[in-house]
């Protein structure tokens, strides 16, 4: 990843010190990605914007409670976006389509991913995910973008909970290795 100035860690420290310009920089850096993630999960722009506003505000208020186990600052911020979006999805959705229908009704990212392809880092991650065996890839996608819990996935996919966990574990391990190779 290209060096950015100031680095994310420093931005977070400034955020904790209530520096609004640090928040502006953070938004300029990750606002578009945050919005794209929220949109991918919720499928509508208004809700996605609310999630982004909420997430940045919560980062602003909670920079002091930045959780190491949530990864680097970028991963942390995106985990807040993800958490909020999935929360809304789970609250509003009483019925969610089964995995097969879902895979068909989800618009393929291919259609609109022109800008993503320009970014080498993004392309690498996409390739790492796409290289996974179908079952592992689908498990990870349905969990992360579909908001399904592992218990729900076990029911939906008709496999034991242990199998769902195993697919998550091996899939993420493979992604890690693929990403490490390209660094």
């Amino acid at each position: 990843m290209p060096e950015q100035h100031p680095p994310d860690d420093a931005l977070l420290a400034s955020l904790a010190a209530r520096d609004l310009s640090a928040l502006a920089t953070l938004y300029d850096r990750y606002g578009r990605l945050a919005y794209s993630l929220a949109y991918r999960i919720l499928g509508e722009s208004e809700a996605a914007e609310d999630v982004v506003q909420d997430a940045f505000l919560s980062a602003w208020k909670g920079a002091g409670s930045y959780r190491r186990e949530r990864g680097n600052p970028r991963a942390w911020l995106l985990s807040i976006v993800h958490h909020r979006a999935v929360d809304i999805l789970r609250r509003k959705t009483t019925f969610r389509p089964a995995p097969l229908e879902m895979a068909e009704s989800q618009p393929s990212d291919e259609d609109t991913a022109v800008s993503a392809e320009k970014n080498v880092e993004h392309r690498t991650v996409r390739e790492a995910l796409e290289a996974l065996p179908q079952a592992q890839r689908r498990t990870i996608e349905l969990a992360y973008f579909g908001g399904y819990t592992h218990v729900e996935l076990s029911e939906l996919m008709g496999v034991p909970l242990g199998t769902v966990k195993g697919r998550m574990r091996i899939g993420l391990q493979k992604m890690r290795r693929a990403l490490e190779r390209t660094r």
Binding site: L23, Y27, D28, G31, R32, A34, Y35, S36, L37, Y39, R40, S45, E49, V52, Q53, F56, L57, S58, W60, K61, G62, G64, S65, Y66, R67, R68, E69, R70, G71, N72, A75, W76, L78, S79, V81, H83, D109, T112, A113, S115, A116, N119, H122, V125, R126, L129, I140, A143, Y144, F145, G147, Y148, T149, H150, V164, K165, M168, L172, M175, R176
Partner: protein, 248 residues
């Protein structure tokens, strides 16, 4: 130390645990460096998944909304730091049903139904725990037990999950404290950073509500200290939530 949570770390990182399981994992991570390291490295892999989505441009107005909301929050926070202590305390046992509206105004956007039930608590002390349990409905409750000179007292931090509702602590049997001293409620993050959540004095009633003016999300434990001044270094811990602090 409770059991390790390696088995659930992938699902935790993917956000694929239900609330109860996620909290159990988060609590363990607060105490276990080994699982916490694994969680951090998984979080970074999962943090790359957003790179697989099609990028979309939000409306430019969103940037203004974000910054505007933060600016407003900063102004509010500054006015809250005024020398007046934020009491937000309600003498519940004196609140008749007619007074409920006033209590809700004092406590901001809190849940009316919650307060309706808490008024009942004041009437039947035995129902304290039962009532809190009934308030749960998706909220997080952390009980803090008093120790030493605060033995026998306690408080429950109530964190509503719904947007726009404020967290608060419901204390019982707080002993009197010396003139000039204050009690401070702290939120403790998984990496053991302490954040001041509210400062108050006991009101002499059996039951007392103290409003929390900060976001509780991201914190895993809470505590109360007895301090000689409302700012500066904290004094003795007189109450803390059940989960023990990580061993150094």
């Amino acid at each position: 130390m409770n059991e390790h949570v390696q088995d659930d770390l992938e699902a935790y990182a993917l956000g694929a645990l239900d609330r109860g399981d996620a909290e159990r994992v988060a609590q363990h991570l607060a105490l276990c460096a080994s699982c916490s390291n694994d969680a951090a490295s998984l979080a970074e892999i999962v943090g790359t998944l957003p790179d697989t989505v099609a990028l979309r441009e939000p409306r430019p107005a969103l940037r203004d909304r974000v910054l505007g909301a933060a600016r407003a929050e900063a102004r509010q926070a500054t006015s809250r730091r005024s020398p007046r202590w934020s009491f937000g305390a309600v003498r519940l046992s004196r609140i008749a049903f007619a007074g409920l509206a006033a209590a809700v105004i004092v406590l901001g956007a809190a849940d009316v139904e919650a307060y309706r039930r808490m008024v009942t608590v004041a009437a039947e002390r035995d129902a304290y725990n039962r009532t809190l349990e009934s308030l749960r409905e998706g909220a997080r409750l952390w009980y803090m037990a008093g120790k030493d000179s605060f033995a026998g007292s306690g408080g429950t931090l109530y964190e509503p999950r719904a947007d726009g509702k404020q967290p608060f602590v419901l204390f019982h049997d707080l002993p009197p404290i010396n003139e000039g001293q204050v009690l401070t409620i702290w939120l403790v993050s998984p990496d053991s950073a302490w954040a001041r959540a509210a400062t108050f004095r006991p009101n002499g009633q059996d039951i007392q509500v103290v409003q929390i003016n900060t976001e509780v999300a991201g914190f895993d434990r809470c505590a109360v200290t007895l301090d000689d001044s409302p700012s500066g270094k904290h004094g003795t811990v007189v109450m803390e939530s059940r989960i023990a602090p990580p061993t150094p």
